[in-house]
Amino acid sequence: MRDMADTNSDQKPRRRPPRYHRFRPLVQAGFLAVWMAPIAALRSFPGCVFHCYACPLASFACPVGVTGQLLAAGMVPLLAVGVVLAAAALFGSLVCGWACPFGFIQDLLAKIPSPKFRLPNWTGYGRYLVLIGAVVLVPLLWGTGHPLFVCRICPAGAVQGGLGQITARAVRTGQIQNLLSVTKWVILGVFLLAAVLTLRPWCKVLCPLGGFLGLFNPVSVFHLRFDRRACTECNTCRSRCPMGVKVEKKTNVSNCIRCMECTSCGAILPAADLPARRGEAAERGR
């Protein structure tokens, strides 16, 4: 395949692969502005991303927090489940890679120069432990007062809610007050350190929302396709993937956050973009 491409390379210049991932920071920043536009009327509505509603600038309620709260009250969180399910059906975990403000924070922290470590893929099952344990079972059985209730161990609460509230109060009163418990400070410190040393640690290991969205990657309307004819075995897809997905083996897996870094070689593309590419590859192969 590679030889064939080389011999035909002088006949037709190869079109540059689309570089979707280059726009990702801009899109993430745009979504951040959406999630942090405090409109009281909207805060009663759960969003589809991991963003603590205790943040003074939060515009939507956190679907995970709402789910835990309502389950603790013995109610079914229909609105939160419906909104997240709609996002999952349409986009799968594209939400994590492009819209989640907490993911954006981790991406920014990862830009701090340091040695980066890869976490093994099996750690991704931790997300389902958190989802079933801290989000569903703990509130159902012990209520919101349990120390393992999701809002009590959530680093988004510490970063966005805790630091946000501290800042808001400092601006309002001119005094810095400690609003976080010792546990939250420890969670905050561990999270910040991990986010500098590895890529998206919360998303990969513990995020219950990402785990739920990822479950729908194999069936979501938006999905990626691998074009084996366009693959030159350059290994770019694997080496660029922050989640350690072997994308050429199975493209739409649950631990993918669809950051689209793997699309930079042109062999893996959104399904809507692939037919044109296929025609091009067939032309090259002729």
Binding site: A54, G65, V83, S181, V219, F222
Partner: protein, 109 residues
């Protein structure tokens, strides 16, 4: 970006077993329909739920279903007091208290 995604040596891509997934959007659209129905049902029930003060921890729930920021600023003592008091009390009586030196968790829970 270049620093973050510096190429890291990985095992070689094997030539065998590289399936190209091909599927339509139908399952996703069916799920979307179900999600819209669930959301609509949830939105209808939420209207009744906002005034349902007979449930446990109704004040905390009110804060996440109506976005009342005062509940977020309330202290644990106030929450405990509100849990003990009769639930049919007027919700708007919740004091908007900003307690200096409070070390409680910011979270409405």
């Amino acid at each position: 970006m270049a620093r973050r995604f510096r190429k890291i040596p990985q095992p070689p891509i094997d030539r065998r077993g590289r399936p190209s997934e091909s599927r339509g959007p139908w399952w996703g659209l069916a799920l979307l329909t179900a999600a819209v129905l669930i959301t609509a049902l949830g939105a209808m029930l939420a209207r009744d739920f906002r005034d349902a003060t007979g449930v446990r921890e109704w004040r905390a729930i009110r804060s996440i279903t109506t976005g009342d920021p005062r509940a977020i600023l309330a202290t644990d003592d106030e929450r405990a007091a509100s849990a003990d008091e009769p639930n049919d009390r007027d919700e708007d009586e919740t004091p908007a208290v900003d307690t200096p030196g409070a070390t409680d968790d910011f979270c409405p829970t």
